[in-house]
Symmetry: C2
């Protein structure tokens, strides 16, 4: 005679596996250890406070858990209003695009290291754009709530959803400056100071007229660089008029003729911003080459960021490096603070300094005497 199947049994059968098969619950551990589920929770919760558990019981429970290979269910943990030691990583493009160049890899290096150091595992929310796990729901970002907190990569997260998370007090940290949803925590590179420093160094080499080449984009990363550039000019008491060359398509607008024109006008150094495409720098380099010029002999060049990888064999540009791994690590650190939720910084924002890269494309302006001293 067959027992009427319990709900439990039925569940365990067909859709099966993830559930019952081999995954022990606290209840099983408890049974094996000869205690109650609550005791197991107390022991494994590892709370020092208020934990009045005898050494013996504790050991029994730990042994049992070990033998069964018990691992807490993250969803249950989370639901019970505790933490599950998971940090989410959310990007609205593929985290691992086919082309390594466009990936967040450098950041992830730091993210992984710091997360590991702090005892967190990472959840990669997939296919945020391509219709992955979250494609069903109209609120993909919401999946993030499964984790204790979430890192946001890229600028494409919809503001509304994001605001929602922030307002709900869900810990989120955006990688890269981002002002939009008020109160959003972010970690960014200090483009302003770094750009200023580059300009100051050029000035101290003797350059008196410097031009910034930038693309036509209002991203914070661009405007910050421009601000730093202008500050640098000001500090060095150099003219700011016509110092910024802005073009929607530098490859077209930045001709060798234009370049010679500048040189004739007394410009001796050029600074380009780094963008995803590297368009500004690429255009600048091309124009210089086509004009038959050479840096740093005929003019000085600097890049506010790292060169695109396909130009890796070119001489190393003077400029600065963005410490991406460090940014990633910093973001995790901040996120961990928010998750802990104890002493939330009033302005949950972190700026990381970039490191100056001497490089080989800048020197004294042509015709200048060797640097004094």
């Amino acid at each position: 005679m067959v027992e009427e199947p319990t709900k439990r049994a039925r569940r365990g059968r067909a859709p099966a596996p993830a559930g019952r098969t081999g995954r022990p619950r606290q209840a099983e551990v408890a049974r094996l250890a000869g205690v109650s589920q609550a005791t197991v929770s107390l022991v494994l919760g590892g709370k020092q406070q208020g934990a009045a558990i005898s050494q013996e019981t504790r050991q029994n429970v730990l042994d049992a858990a070990g033998r069964l290979g018990y691992v807490p269910d993250p969803a249950a943990r989370r639901l019970a209003a505790a933490r599950n030691d998971l940090l989410g990583v959310f990007s609205f493009t593929a985290t691992f695009p086919t082309d390594v160049q466009h990936s967040y890899y450098p950041f992830l290096v730091g993210v992984e290291r710091e997360a590991a150091a702090r005892g967190y595992d990472l959840v990669l929310f997939t296919g945020s754009s391509t219709g992955g796990a979250g494609a069903g729901g109209p609120h993909p970002l919401n999946r993030a709530r499964l984790a204790d907190g979430c890192l946001l990569l890229g600028r494409h997260a919809p503001v509304d959803e994001l605001r929602r998370l922030v307002d709900d007090g869900f810990p989120v940290v955006h990688l890269g400056r981002r002002d939009e949803p008020e109160g959003l925590a972010w970690v960014g590179a200090d483009y302003v100071s770094s750009s200023r420093e580059v300009v100051e160094r050029l000035a101290s080499l003797g350059h008196r007229r410097i031009v910034l080449v930038r693309e036509d984009d209002e991203a914070p990363a661009s405007t910050d660089r421009e601000q730093g550039f202008l500050e640098g000019l000001r500090v060095a008491e150099l003219p700011e008029t016509e110092a910024v060359f802005r073009s929607a398509d530098p490859a077209l607008d930045l001709t060798p003729e234009r370049l010679r024109q500048w040189l004739a006008g007394g410009v001796t150094a050029f600074v380009a911003e780094e963008t995803d495409s590297g368009g500004a720098w690429r255009a600048l380099s091309t124009a210089v080459r086509e004009a038959g010029l050479k840096a740093p002999r005929d003019l000085s060049l600097a890049l506010l960021g790292s060169p695109p990888p396909d130009l890796a064999d070119a001489p190393e540009p003077t400029g600065f490096d963005i410490p991406r791994a460090q940014l990633g690590a910093e973001a995790v650190r901040l996120l961990a603070t928010l998750v802990a939720g104890e002493d939330v910084p009033e302005r949950p924002v972190a700026l990381v300094a970039c490191t100056y890269r001497p490089g080989a494309t800048a020197g004294p302006p042509p015709g200048a005497r060797p640097a004094p001293g």
Copy 2:
């Protein structure tokens, strides 16, 4: 006088867990729509089957949900569903090492894509080696049980723990051939056929004596290549004696003299295996260069795999490419099958073919007439 804080209130305050803040639950939606929570669940669950909900009620619920901005709690959803739609990715080295070259990036490309397509998110278990989240427990691999199933990268997973998982019926797929724990599912590249094909092509170019250069390693990837190589010789009816040159340190043992010796003995083609370090291929290339020889003019070279990235500017070696992204995708596919648990393949193993790469380092042997036809 301060009210004694209720549990509820305390929770909502400091750590600000997923909870209370203002986020509506199904219960609230239900109240607003004048129905029961269960009805809300049924409507929003979007199940066609068995859902006997009137059009009117359905609309009411949807309206209410919309007005409140209801969003399901993923933790609760997953708890109730007895699955969490998470696939683990476990490696015993950092998943994102500082050096991109040593990373699993190419695999992850495929893993992410396929996981997204199937609605899974990924859990990256951090610091599996460096003492991350799981360093405490003596059984780091156990953390994998947190997910519905787990992908294993790299060959360093301890057999005992692994066997444990497999025996428990926990879905695991190893990326790369692996026989050790009986019954372990894996996905690997078909090195045997691919290597054989390379040899056959060389033979059909007219080469009669071919030597394989390999490192002193017993990894399946190495032995498979050798097997394929030997099979290739056999098929082409070429001599197998002294055809395999095995060295613990090819950079030392593979001298230009040795090379000339071989050539003098009638060898016209060399095949190197690909390894992490690329040692064999590197040594071979160096020896050829130092001997003042050129491929394919003086001899033919082939590489059983992809060249190390730092040799990217060298002529493209003849050989085959390992479809890493495809391997990753295949692994996820297999893992998903195991997780679903319905029709588990009896032999949960998948071989993926490599694609032949014509390259530019192989041609007819010197002195041979042009290929007939």
